[in-house]
């Protein structure tokens, strides 16, 4: 952090553009890489307290998540649902809507696709079944956001509360559906009927990587382009940055708000479908990976930037996969990743605060 600071201070300026870009790079380094480094060190200290060599742990996580063939494939596969969620969150956050209910939307989308696909397999061609599974999951996710959307758009009810409440309901409803409605009668464990592996999303090349990854990356890039380069994106950003100005400029703020909810929740539904149709093949009762809560900090860390989100989600997935093995080998519980992420968030907040103070002091 300090190194990059002094570097920008001493580098001779090659014109205003150059300086600006350098300043921006330096700021990115301080504001993003700084907290990451600090979080890694602080979490390492916690490991030391528990008598575990942090270097061993981190090396293992990196080796397992990034540098082993199978680990890397698992990492890339794990990215797909996280990326779809990120796409939805980027739309919402850039439009100033805090859709924190993605987990409920995700789970209901997952259940919808898990219920639909086995019923249609054999009736319709495989690719149509998959497509319909995705479409239905997106629709179900969007439907689950209608209530918070209308309340926010027309009554001004804070969506943070309502979307979170809808997540509790959504998770429970998903469970009820799995246990009572879409139960596979052939198994003793309550779960939906399993989609046979050949009927799931095709895998990439000769690997185990689900092709959901490709669609997920495309979704994030699409969202990024739409939000930064198109009229629709600018409308949403205007609503997010200043709803009064948006109304003044003739934009229909309520309608755009509802649209943001629908798009965001639909992506969450697609995330659910990609996990089921691509990887799991069924939904087990009480299954709730709570991916949404993991992705939210990452999207923040990437400042709602599409490419940044993809990179961070890649490393985060590696961390998840690596720490799963590490939990078995080194004896650090898998939940330790949460400690790492939480520390990261704290340092992120600190960096933000310091930056704010410095700028205020500077001018």
């Amino acid at each position: 952090m300090t190194a990059s600071d002094t570097q920008t201070a001493t580098t001779p300026s090659n014109g205003p553009v150059e300086v600006q870009r350098e300043a921006r790079l330096a700021r990115f380094a301080v504001m993003t890489l700084g907290p990451i480094a600090a979080a890694v060190i602080a979490s390492g200290l916690i490991l030391v307290v528990f008598g575990i060599n942090p270097i061993t742990y981190y090396t293992f996580v990196i080796e397992r998540g990034l540098f082993s063939g199978l680990g890397l494939e698992q990492t890339l596969t794990r990215m797909a649902p996280l990326l779809f969620l990120a796409a939805g969150l980027i739309v919402a956050f850039r439009a100033g809507i805090w859709n924190l209910g993605v987990d409920g939307q995700f789970l209901l989308g997952a259940v919808a696709s898990a219920a639909l696909a086995p019923a249609l397999l054999g009736v319709l061609p495989g690719w149509i079944v998959l497509l319909m599974g995705f479409v239905l999951a997106g629709l179900v996710g969007a439907v689950w956001s209608v209530l918070p959307a209308l309340l926010r758009a027309y009554q001004g009810v804070n969506e943070i509360i309502t979307t979170l409440m809808m997540t509790f309901l959504g998770v429970s409803l998903a469970n009820v559906l799995v246990k009572l409605v879409f139960l596979d009668p052939k198994t003793t464990v309550p779960q939906t009927r399993t989609i046979p592996v050949p009927d799931r999303l095709p895998r990439l090349f000769d690997s185990t990587i689900s092709s959901g990854l490709v669609w997920a990356v495309a979704a994030v890039l699409l969202v990024h382009v739409v939000m930064t380069r198109t009229a629709f994106g600018l409308k949403l950003r205007t609503v997010g940055a200043n709803p009064h100005a948006a109304a003044h400029a003739g934009l229909s703020v309520p309608r755009l708000t509802v649209a943001v909810f629908a798009i965001s929740a639909a992506f969450a539904g697609l995330a659910g479908a990609s996990e089921i149709l691509g990887v799991n093949g069924n939904v087990r009762a009480d299954w709730n990976p709570a991916y949404g809560l993991m992705v939210i900090p990452l999207v923040f860390l990437a400042r709602f930037h599409g490419v940044g989100s993809i990179i961070l989600i890649f490393f985060y997935s590696a961390l998840l996969i690596g720490s799963e093995s590490a939990a078995r080998r080194v004896g650090v519980p898998q939940d330790f990743t949460l400690v790492l992420v939480a520390t990261l968030l704290i340092f992120l907040g600190l960096a933000e605060w310091l930056d704010h103070r410095r700028r205020k002091g500077g001018g």
Binding site: R229, T230, A231, F232, L234, K235, R237, T238, A241, N242, H244, A245, A247, H248, A249, G250, L251
Partner: protein, 533 residues
Amino acid sequence: MRDLARTSLVPLPAKGVEAVGLVSVTKRFPGVVAVDDVSLGIRSGEVHVLLGENGAGKSTIVGMLAGLQLPDEGHLTVNGVPVRLASPVESLAAGINTVFQHVMLVPTLTVFENLVLGDAWWHRPPRALIEARIAELQRDFGLRVPLDAITGDLSLGEQQQIEIARALLRESHVLILDEATSMLTPQGADELGERMRRLAERGLAVVFITHKLSEAYRFGDRISVLKQGRFAGEIGPDALAAMAEKDAVDEMVQLMFGSSDTGLASAARQSRPRGACSLKVSGLSTQGGVEEMALSDISLEVFAGEILGVAGIDGNGQKQMAEAIAGQRPVTAGTVELESRNVTQESVGKRRELGLRYLTDDRLMEGSVGLFAVSENTVLKEIGAPPFWSYGFEKPARIAAHARDLIQRFSVRTPGEATPIGHLSGGNIQKVLLGRELSGAAKVVVFNKPTYGLDMQNIAASRQRIRDIAEGGMAVLLISTDLDELLELADRIAVMDRGRICGVLDNDATQPAEMRTAIGRLMVGEAPAEVDA
């Protein structure tokens, strides 16, 4: 530590001594000078009325006295000693208590709990002592304080009494009542006035903020008038006591609306023969709300090449009228016609396309998106339209070229078109917004307080632009709280009061003083116009 019931009202300075003072205080907000070099002395034993329109700087002065804001220049004094009130705690410790316009009590707590809120936490509240003190207050000032009632169940007037009681329980030397009568019934307001008088008799310095002239006369010992952030004049206790209400009101109107002598007195604009009717508003009414004036039966016509001024004390429905005309506010009755075409049902965008432009008074919160670049703000009302977008995709080069052209034509001072507009000064933001409204085929331009908060140079430039617009054959509806501006620019002046148009006068540039008085009286609803409407 301040202890609630320890002291009574005794340790007050002698009457007539300055308890709190403002010394050459200036406070700026982004784009606006809220308080401009104001000096005031608040004396013990006086009810000191701060009179002024919305935006005259009253609330900012209250904010500085209450420790919510620090002055940018100048300083405050308490008992003659310069102080820095950096927080409400410091303000309270200095003996200054503020009763804000909106009640600041916790509605779910009992009255007693509200009274002891903020007291030391490590001992039980001295219930018996407080009861005794409350009984004393009830006897002396007629304050009704039901200690065990749930605060939210009480009426606003009763809650306000609790706030006053709380202020008196603390060691108050100065009691500030910010627009305290706005939530009260007329009877409640009179009771409050009576109470203020008794408090002043006990030696307290009472600051009473209002924009109602009759209250100022009836309740005040001394009246200071603020106008656009500047100190406009004062009526001292002796002078005030000698005046009848009518003379006092005349004097206040004169101070509030008289020529501010800003050095901007350029020659009044010559009226020209007007063209066809460009904007016709008939019977326009809107729904009101708790804080919003309802419009009732607004009718007016603006002709091509004409400037119709709209005068009135701020908050009498001017903004609502502008929004209803622009299409931002739903109407309950009436029509808006643009060049004989009924546009009442049309959207904001459609009206803009047809040539109706609205320049909002809220440059920062409504007119612009502070985080967005100047260039994006110049096309904010045309998102998606060619040539700046094609097939929904942005054409950054065209937007930038358009912005550079606008920056040059309207001499906007900005580092570049990519600079976030929030970094510019108020005057430069105003230029960008003006340029945005005038681009394309504008026919009718509605200005809402176009020069509010600008510096002299920008005021002059903006007024010249408005002249040019009318010269160019457009119809201008100019809403302003600055009478000088209206007298200088308008052909006719409509006066708004409580959501209605209460008169339209032809501007007579040869008799500014008479115009001023006639308009001022219409504005405060004091007398019917003698000038033919």
